[in-house]
Each structure stands twice: as structure tokens, then as C-alpha cells.
């Protein structure tokens, strides 16, 4: 690991100042010389691998007293960005009213990592693409813009089939973000000019021609909270993976439904493990609204969700697997007792 200076943030202003001090010459965020430290489960790992090389680390954990509240109020939910994954996953009201959130967190990582990792850091975690993580490969457009992509013709079994570009096919690895995007979450961002809010769906950027730019956050900006309107008791997170536990998704689905008298009034479908960013399957959702559920509908929806998918040498199986995951998640959501 390279040397860095360590500073502990005493308050949000100080954190934002420390993170933006060297920012001007340092776009994008992924290459910024100052990086925030929350749980550290991505940052310290990638610093040990020499993938991330910050000259300064700003420990934002002291902000937790203000930024880690878990606040369901019956009609809406607000989650502080420094809340720990394990605390949110275990929260009784989250499990009751937002099972898709509780399960997306409970099925991620290990008990130890969930005790460390925060919600804000979780959505900012970086891809597990093995070529991105291994600096002995020169050709990674995400690490070295313009150098090429070793995964295109490499071992790409874990890579994305949706949202890819000719520059990058790295999978967005997280789980919680699919729950957020499905539930139309809003993300609150604290920066030099105070706080601003935007739809969570606008946080992540597909790789396109600039895979090194992963989010719309700027250096000196921190996620401070997430909020969701309404309750979603009829929701599930289904995750298919190589191991039964402690593994990233090969394919996952976040599904939330509002069903009244057998008719689907509202439907949300988001996909994980298969796309370069948290993926909302709006075409699939449109097929569900106003319909009564049956297996044939589930199959049509599942196919619509992967209509634009493009497999490569080792990952085409994710398209068929992904369809089955969507169909089963819908089945579970429809039949669950709430």
C-alpha cells in the first residue's frame, strides 16, 4: 500500500473541505487524491491491491452520530448513509415494510463485512472485475482510460450482459442499490454548497466511453442519506450465486409489487449481477401493471427484462439464469404473506 495522510473528520464541513481541497485537478471521483473512509471494506482492499492510490484518507466515521439514523415513519423511510448494513438488515420495521431492502443487505457479503460497511459506501463499492482488481493487467479502461479491456476476450463469466459498452463490461457488484432503484429512492448529497437531492437512479453512470467515471458524484461530495416514499411490504430480493452464502450475485432481482384484489397496481423490477449499473427493468414493469399474475405473464416479463441483453463467450448463461430469477422473484412476491 502507498503512503497516505490520515485525517479524522470532525463535522461534515471539515470532511467536505478536506475531500475537495485537491479536487480541481483530480476528476473523476474514482481518481481523486483524497478519498473518504467509512467501513473501508472496498477502499482498504483496493489500496492494498494498488488499484486505488489516494494521497489522503479522510475518516468520516465520526459523522455517524448525525448520519446513521434508521427512520421509518409509516409513510416514508429515511436511512442515514453511515448506517451499518447489519443494523438496517436486522431492523424489525425494515424487515416488515421493506423486505427487499432487508434481504438485499442480509444476503450481501459476510456478517463481519456487514458490521463494517455503511449504506453509502455500499452503493459506491467498485466492480469485482478481476482485470480491474489486478494491476498486472495494463489494459483496463476503468483503471487506465484508453488502455483497452482485458475482459472482452478474457474470462468474462462474471461480467455484465446489460448496459455494457465497447469500452467496459464490468458488473456493478452490489445488492442494496437494486432495492433502492426499484423503490424510486432519493439520494441526499452533502457538498460545499450544502445538501442536494436527486433520484438514486441518477447516481450511477453506465460505462459508455468513460468507464472511469462511475457516478455523478464530484470530489468533495458525500452521500449523507437515502429516502423512500411509501411502504413496500410485498417485495423480495432474490439472489442466485455460485455459493449459497457470502458470494456476489450471478443474477439477482429486486421486485416490489402493489397487488389489490388480484390485480397488479404497481410493479418494480430491478436487476443485479447482470448489468454495469444498478438496473431498472422498466419494460418488464410496464407488462405487469393492471394485469393478474400467472406463470405465462411471469415468462413474458422475464424475457422483456433481458430483451437487450448481450452475452459474451463465458457469460451468456446469465441471460437464461436472469430470466428464471426474475420469474421466481415475481412468483415469490405475489404469493408472500404480508
Amino acid at each position: 500500500m502507498r503512503s497516505f495522510s490520515y485525517r479524522r473528520a470532525s463535522d461534515p464541513d471539515m470532511a467536505v473541505r478536506a475531500l475537495s481541497a485537491a479536487a480541481a485537478a483530480n476528476n473523476p471521483l474514482t481518481k481523486a487524491t483524497a478519498q473518504p473512509l467509512a467501513g473501508g471494506t472496498t477502499l482498504i482492499d483496493l489500496m492494498k491491491l494498488d488499484v486505488m492510490r489516494p494521497a489522503a484518507v479522510v475518516d468520516i466515521n465520526p459523522l455517524a452520530h448525525a448520519w446513521s439514523a434508521i427512520e421509518p415513519d409509516g409513510e416514508a423511510l429515511r436511512l442515514g448513509a453511515l448506517a451499518k448494513m447489519s443494523d438496517v438488515a436486522a431492523h424489525a420495521e425494515i424487515r416488515r415494510s421493506y423486505p427487499v431492502i432487508a434481504d438485499s443487505l442480509r444476503l450481501a457479503a459476510s456478517a463481519q463485512l456487514r458490521n463494517m460497511a455503511t449504506l453509502g459506501g455500499n452503493v459506491m463499492q467498485r466492480t469485482r472485475c478481476s482485470y480491474f482488481r489486478d494491476v498486472s493487467y495494463e489494459n483496463c479502461n476503468k483503471r487506465n482510460p484508453g488502455s483497452g479491456c482485458a475482459a472482452m476476450d478474457g474470462v468474462n463469466r462474471m461480467h455484465a450482459v446489460l448496459g455494457t459498452s465497447d469500452q467496459c463490461i464490468a458488473t456493478y457488484p452490489g445488492d442494496f442499490a437494486q432495492a433502492l432503484i426499484a423503490l424510486d429512492a432519493v439520494v441526499e448529497i452533502t457538498g460545499k454548497a450544502g445538501t442536494r437531492s436527486m433520484p438514486f437512479a441518477q447516481l450511477h453512470k453506465a460505462p459508455g466511453s468513460t468507464p472511469e467515471i462511475e457516478t455523478t458524484l464530484q470530489p468533495g461530495e458525500l452521500i449523507s442519506a437515502f429516502s423512500i416514499q411509501g411502504r413496500w411490504p410485498r417485495s423480495v430480493y432474490l439472489k442466485a450465486r455460485d455459493r449459497q452464502s457470502y458470494e456476489f450475485a450471478l443474477s439477482s432481482a429486486a421486485v416490489a409489487l402493489d397487488v389489490q384484489d388480484g390485480t397488479i397496481r404497481d410493479a418494480r423490477v430491478a436487476l443485479g449481477g447482470v448489468a454495469t449499473v444498478p438496473w431498472r427493468a422498466r419494460e418488464a414493469e410496464a407488462l405487469l401493471k393492471g394485469e393478474k399474475f400467472d406463470e405465462a405473464l411471469a415468462q413474458r416479463v422475464a424475457h422483456a427484462a433481458f430483451a437487450d441483453a448481450r452475452g459474451r463467450r463465458h457469460n451468456s448463461f446469465k441471460i437464461g439464469l436472469g430470466r428464471r430469477v426474475v420469474a421466481r422473484a415475481l412468483q415469490q412476491a405475489v404469493t408472500m404473506e404480508i
Binding site: M1, S3, F4, S5, Y6, R8, L37, G40, T41, I44, D45, K48, L49, A55, V57, D59, N61, S86, A90, A109, S110, A111, Q112, L113, N115, M116, R243, Q244, S245, Y246
Partner: protein, 204 residues
């Protein structure tokens, strides 16, 4: 080789030998770092050591460390508490599991500086006087290891698993112990050990 361990013990002691060898290898680096710092009292250069107090197993330990030092390296290399093991050093195997403020974490991804002011409990801090912790005894009773390298992490994780309320049945134990890899695959016996110790730990 360590002169210290060979003069102190007449028979070969692996733990003393390893600790002594590691200690002597570290001496030049520590000496150089301290000398540098004496000339420059304000350590602006990130390569210079910084002072930190870690509370480990109930005792405050004052250390001069490089900012890059993880809790795991602080324990093993600076405090000579070598119970916590370095397996992958990337948060994937669980061998380095310790409790920080009673929650299990992987010490290899925790910066020592960030753990200042928190209570760190390691495998060395579990037993009381000469009495093993119930989880330690349960691992012995159930032969819950072969090579033993993952065992300190397994035991620390298992203690937390029980206290979290995730040891009620075998499926839960397997799910909530999945962050601790055992390459000898002693899993059935580890599950049995957790089941044995759980009631006694919950009783307090």
C-alpha cells in the same frame, strides 16, 4: 534466528520462536522511524509514524505506527498478539476476525488509526484467568478444526454469532458463519461447537 527465545527456553517453543523472529526483523524499521520523528516533531510527511492508543483486551496500548497499519498488523507485529491470523489480508477469509466494540469485524481491512477509542477484543482476551471461554472449550470438545489456522477467527466470529441471536438453528449458524472459511472443511464440527456453546453464552 532469535537469541532471546533460545536463551529463555531450554526446549523448542514454536510460538516464542516465531514471535522472537518477527520482533527482531522489525527492529531496524522501528528504530529508523523513531529517529526520523525525533528530528521532525510535526509529522506532515505521510511516511512518518503517528501515535495512536489502542484499547486491546481491556488495556490501553500506546503505539507509533505507519498510517497504513491495519488493526491486524498492529496486533500481530506491534503488540505480538499473534492469535489473530492473516489469511487473505483482503477481508475474504475471516481468519483475522476480532470484536470491536463487541461487533465482529475483519481486522485486516480496519485501519488501526480508525479504531482509536474503541474496545478491541482478540482471541487472547476471551478466556478468564485459567478458564477457557465456553466457545473455546466447545471447539476442543467437538474437534472443530484440523490445522487450526482459521480457528481464532472462527471462535471470535462464533461468539458474536451467538450474541447476535443467529445461532438458533444449524441453517442460521451456517449462514451467519459463512464469512469464516475453513480450508480443512471442519464445518460440521464447527456448527456442532457453536450449538454446544450457544446456551451457556446466552445464559451469560
Amino acid at each position: 534466528m532469535s537469541d532471546k527465545s533460545s536463551s529463555r527456553t531450554s526446549t523448542f517453543d514454536r510460538r516464542a520462536f516465531m514471535a522472537g523472529a518477527a520482533g527482531s526483523a522489525l527492529v531496524p524499521m522501528t528504530a529508523r522511524a523513531v529517529a526520523q520523528d525525533a528530528n521532525e516533531p510535526v509529522a506532515q510527511d505521510p511516511s512518518l509514524p503517528v501515535e495512536v492508543t489502542l484499547r486491546v483486551n481491556g488495556k490501553d496500548k500506546r503505539l507509533r505506527i505507519d498510517a497504513r497499519t491495519t488493526v491486524l498488523d498492529a496486533l500481530r507485529e506491534h503488540l505480538k498478539l499473534t492469535g489473530s491470523k492473516k489469511g487473505c489480508d483482503h477481508g475474504q477469509c475471516g481468519a483475522c476476525t476480532v470484536l470491536i466494540d463487541d461487533r465482529r469485524v475483519v481486522s485486516c481491512l480496519t485501519l488501526a488509526l480508525a479504531a482509536e477509542g474503541q474496545e478491541i477484543t482478540t482471541i487472547e482476551g476471551l478466556a478468564t484467568d485459567d478458564r477457557l471461554h465456553p466457545m473455546q472449550q466447545a471447539f476442543i470438545d467437538n474437534d472443530a478444526f484440523q490445522c487450526g489456522y482459521c480457528t481464532p477467527g472462527q471462535i471470535m466470529s462464533a461468539v458474536a454469532c451467538v450474541k447476535e441471536g443467529h445461532a438458533g438453528n444449524e441453517a442460521d449458524i451456517r449462514e451467519y458463519m459463512s464469512g469464516n472459511i475453513c480450508r480443512c472443511a471442519a464445518y460440521p464440527n464447527i456448527v456442532a461447537a457453536v450449538k454446544q456453546a450457544a446456551p451457556e453464552i446466552m445464559k451469560g
